[in-house]
Every structure is written in structure tokens, then in C-alpha cells.
Symmetry: none
């Protein structure tokens, strides 16, 4: 892990990510980061103006990593294939005990979430997901609901499942997951042979 990068900025980044993932943002001191990164405390300040900027930069980075994992391989195949690939990307990323994932969960539910880096993440994530949701909605395959609602209904379960598996609160069971993935897919589909009059606009 530390082999590929010999530049200090990355070392500091990875060290911080690791500590946040392990001990939480609360127990995060610059000395600790320096020690974990194997640099002097003062060195951190050559790369980040202060602790706040370090955390903020790391947040951006983590969000980018998460977005890229979630949106991997979601541009080929049928709508269903793409949706399910994303669904499993979410579960599989969430299952991992990686520093990126663990620190992501710390960041995401912190106050000050309505600030630009997070907004940018939401946008970039939904950029990819928007295509899927828009396509299905335009084709009349999905319910005529806003993206956020479709996401909450069909993909939030994937997040929760990944987390529960990671925490050991449930067993990883590929067959069950495929069944649930299908439920999620079905749940946002309009009934095939029904002319359902939707009530809410995009």
C-alpha cells in the first residue's frame, strides 16, 4: 500500500484516512498523523495550511474514491444490468473494511455536509446515476419520481445491506443479495401492463 507513493502528501493522506477509519475523527491529532505517516509534525503544514484543510481535502478525496467505486462499469448493458451492477457496487464497497469506506461513513454524517465538496460528490455520483434513472423514467419503465426518491427506494437498501454485512450483523449471502437486488429493481418499476397515472413530476 505504501509502496507506490513516496511523496509525503500522499503518505499524510493515507495516514489520516487510516486514523479516521480506525479511531474516528474525534481522536485525530496532528502528531498522530505525523507519526503514522512517518514524517515530522511540521511537514504536514508544508502540504496543508491547517488541520481543517487537511480534513477537507481528504473528504473530497474520499468522496471521489467512493463515487468511482459505485459508478464502476455502469455504462454498458441493458438498463437492468446497469442498475444491478451499481446496486452490487454499492453493497460490495460498503462491505469492505477499507479505510476509504470507513472514513467515508464518518464524513457523510457530519455537520457541515451541505458544503461544496459534498455537493460536488452528490452531483458527480448522481451524474452517473441520473442517466440510469432518467432513461428508465423517460421510457416509462420507472415510476415518475425524482432521482432522490428513486435512489432512496432502490439503492439505499444496498447501502444498508453493505454496512450490515461489514458490521457482522448479517451474513454475506450472494443468492439472498441477488434476490433483494431484484426486489429493489422491481420496486421502482411501473407495473408492466397497467396504465398507472403517476402523481408526481420528476
Amino acid at each position: 500500500m505504501k509502496g507506490t507513493m513516496d511523496n509525503k502528501r500522499d503518505l499524510i493522506f493515507k495516514a489520516t484516512e487510516k486514523i479516521i477509519a480506525t479511531k474516528g475523527i474525534q481522536g485525530l491529532s496532528m502528531q498522530q498523523i505525523a507519526q503514522e505517516a512517518g514524517v515530522a509534525a511540521g511537514t504536514i503544514y508544508r502540504y496543508f495550511t491547517d488541520k481543517e484543510e487537511l480534513i477537507s481535502e481528504l473528504r473530497k478525496d474520499v468522496l471521489r474514491v467512493v463515487a468511482s467505486h459505485i459508478l464502476e462499469n455502469c455504462e454498458e448493458g441493458t438498463l437492468e444490468q446497469r442498475f444491478k451492477r451499481v446496486w452490487f457496487n454499492i453493497v460490495n464497497f460498503g462491505r469492505q473494511r477499507t479505510h476509504a469506506n470507513l472514513s467515508y461513513e464518518q464524513y457523510i454524517h457530519l455537520p457541515g455536509i451541505d458544503t461544496s465538496p459534498h455537493q460536488a460528490f452528490e452531483r458527480s455520483t448522481f451524474e452517473g446515476l441520473h442517466h440510469i434513472f432518467a432513461e428508465g423514467r423517460d421510457a416509462g419503465i420507472f415510476h415518475n419520481l425524482q432521482d432522490k426518491t428513486l435512489f432512496a427506494t432502490s439503492l439505499e437498501p444496498a447501502i444498508a445491506l453493505g454496512r450490515s454485512i461489514r458490521r457482522g450483523q448479517m451474513q454475506y449471502d450472494k443468492t439472498e443479495l441477488e434476490f433483494v437486488c431484484n426486489l429493489c429493481w422491481q420496486s421502482i418499476l411501473t407495473p408492466p401492463n397497467t396504465t398507472h397515472k403517476e402523481q408526481s413530476g420528476r
Copy 2:
């Protein structure tokens, strides 16, 4: 649990909750709590051995409050009525910008989640929800999936929707919510006239 009798203790509790909700757990000092509560800093130590215990006690309290809100009025009516009442309880609680809710979200995604107070919360919540899920599953109305999975599939969307509304990322639209609530309900139902052989046990 002790009600409004133990005045100072409650003041400290409320003050802490407010600060966490407002500025996050990170920016939380004992002097701040004391000032917000209108007591002396030393007074806090008459009610809590140290900061850790204060936070831990508050966590328990918050979780209790959340559980009670979510499970309100979920013991009468048909299975569907009870499920949908819980679903809306979750959305409506999540929508609120109350200190309880905001500090809950801080607590719930923190490291050290596998500790006793959270376990107790999980148990008490699922105690209530278990009845619903078990009843539906036993009657063959719900898919034969473990509670966690049913929860993730049908109730996590409610959590996400409440949060999104609170954050102003989507509009509150009662009709849409009722539609989505129904989708969530449908998603865990076994197809009415199919004898589907479920693949995974409770």
C-alpha cells in the same frame, strides 16, 4: 427515564444534545456545555464521572428517544397499517431539525457502534419491528428474509427520505411519500398468487 425532576442533570443533557446537533461532537467542550446549561463546569462532574460517560449516557438517551418515536402507535391495526405507521414515523422523525434527531445522526455513524448502548437500541427497536416482520413472514405475506434485510429493503428508504427532506434536498410531498411508502410495502410482499419458494431462512 428520571423525567424532568433531576433538573441540573437534564439541563446538562439538553445542552450537550444541542451543541452536538449544532456544532458536532468534534467541537464539544465541557466549558461550552456548562455555559449552555447555565451551570458551573464543576457541576457536570456531580452527575457524570467524565466526558466520556456524559456522551455515552446521552447516546443511550437519544437512542431511546429515537426508538420510541419510531415505534409510536405501531401496535394497533392491520399489519399493513402498522408497517406504514412505522414507515411514516421514521420519515417524520427524520424530517425534523430537532436536537435529538441531529445528534442521533452524529452518534449512529461513529466508530464504536458495536457497543452496548447501540446494541440495546437495536434490540429495543427491532423488538417492536420484529413483531411486524415476524408476523408478515409467518403468514407468508412477506418474503422469507431476515429482519435486517426486510428493514433495509422497506424502511431504509424512509430514513433516507426523511434526511433528504430535512436537508432541503427534496420537497416534502405527502402524496409522493404515500406512493413511495406503498412501494416499500409492496417490495417485501410475496406475490399474491404465486407459491414462491423462498431461498433463505429467517
Copy 3:
């Protein structure tokens, strides 16, 4: 010196004054102040928000002390008596190796001197001196020059002499000082029997 005041704020004040007088403002650390004052480092921050405020408050205080010394007993007697009393007040205060005097000299020639505390000092000093200068000017005894100019001409020498004596660059010689004091007094007097046409307004 430390007997009369047992309150910490004053202890910190005196300690800071002493260190500035001894080692200069440059070598002034909060730890040092704390040690010299016999309090914990953190205690300083109960009385001053930060180092800057401490220094700024001390500056105000020192200026007040200096002003009061210079203006001592300058309200009784003839104009000449009052002027000469001020003149000697300046020399005698400047001669002293007191912390107040030594730190005053540090402060007075620092950048940021045009700020309010210093302005206030100038005003309060000149308030007292203004009476003397105005009286002499109005009576046609002094040259019709602005206060600053009269001050520079007749009292700056006193400052310089006090400093030189303190630094051991010249001997303290009461007779000589009285002679020079008289020169200073004479220098701003209009020639007794000459109708000198002054060129500059107050």
C-alpha cells in the same frame, strides 16, 4: 512589590512588564510569563484572550503609569514652576530603571503606534501639557507654535537626558540639569522686549 496584589491578573501584568523590560518584547513567551507570575500557563487565558491582547492591555497600562508620573504636581504654581516640574518629572522618570519605564521605551517605538491606546495616551498627556503650553502661548510668553513643536523643543531634551543618565552615558548632575532645564524653558519663550512676528499658528 508583589505584596499588595494577590490577584492573578496583576501578577501576570507585572511579570510581563518585567520580562519585556529585561529581555525585550522579542523574547517573550507565555510559558515564561506564567513561570515569572507563578501561575499556570492556562491561567493567563482566563484574563486575556490571547498574547496580543495581553500585550495591548499592558501597553495601555504602562502608558497610563508614564502619563501619571510625568503630569504629577503640575497644576500648582506659576507657569514656569509647572513647566519645570514637568521637565524634571520626565527626567526623573526616564532615569529610573523601573519595569514601567523600560517597557515603555520598548512599546513607544514599535510599529502599530498609531493605534487607539497610544493615541489615548498622547491625548491624556497633552491634555495636561496643553494647559501649560496654551496658557503660555495665549499670554504671549511662549512662541506661537503648535503643542507638538513646543514639546519637541522643550521637553524632548528632558526625555533624552533621562535616558542617557539611565544608560550611564552621562552622570546625574542636578545643577547641570537645572541649567539645561532653564535653557529649555528659555528656548520657547518669546524675547521679553521684542515684538516678534510669529509665523505659525497654534
Copy 4:
């Protein structure tokens, strides 16, 4: 002394002088100097063993510059002409907002003033002034007072006036200055037709 040949050294000198003049000696870091001088931080250590030496060397240089300005053209003409030229040199140099002048004022009132560079400055300045004072004193034109006293009486006012003008505390008024210059000149003169028995030797 080494002129503009030793380029880097001069750049560092000028940069330091500028920062001291602008922000004071307190806010003076080696990195700042390096940046202002356009050299690397390490380069400074090729020309000066450490910060102390840099400041000390600069002090010497500044004092030399000041001395040369003050003593400019003071070797020709009558005693009065020479005195008044020095007097105006002092005012005019003090009026300037040059780095040399501003950093000079910082240096001159610092602790550790009794050290060699300052002594050398005093000597070189008084070397020039001594001629004037000695000549006047020997000819019985000046009061029989030591140089320091004559300086304080007749030239300190010039320093104060220059400073006050620079600080905007008074207007520059050539006529007024000439008048005051004359007062200063007069103040150290023995009364023309009096055989005053002076009381203190040089």
C-alpha cells in the same frame, strides 16, 4: 561597504530591512526574508551564520547609513551653517518613510543597546558632531556642557520633529522648522554679551 557587488547578500539585507520596517522585528521569520529576497531559505545561511548575526549585521549597516545621512555636508561653512545643516539632516531623514529610517527606529530602542555596534554608531556620529560641539564650546560660543547634553538640548528636538511629521502628527512647514531650528541653535549659545561662568565641564 561591499557595495552592490555581493548580490544575494544585499538582497537578503534589503529584504530584512523592509520586513522590519513594515512589520517590526517581532514578525520576522527566515522564510519570510528568503521569500522577500527571492532566494532559498538555506541561502541565507551562506552569508550569515544565523538569524542573530543577520540582524546584528543589518543593525550595523542601518546605523552606518543613518550616521552618514545625518552628517552629510557638515564639514563646510560656518559653525552655525554646519549645525543647522545637521539639524535639518536629522529632520529630513526622520521625515522619510524609508526602510532604513523605520528599521532604525526599531533598532535604536531595543534592549541590548549598550553593545558594540551601537557604541560604534554613537562614536562615529559623535565623531562628526563632536567637532561642531567642541569648536563651539572651545570658542565660548556654546555653553560649557558635555556633548550628550548639547545634543539632547539642540538636536533631540529635530529627531522628534522628523518623527512627528513622518507619523502625520504635524504638518511639514519649512518656515516653522527654520524658526525652531534657530531656537535650538540659540538655546545652546552663551548669551552674546555675558561672561557666564559655566558650572560643568565637558
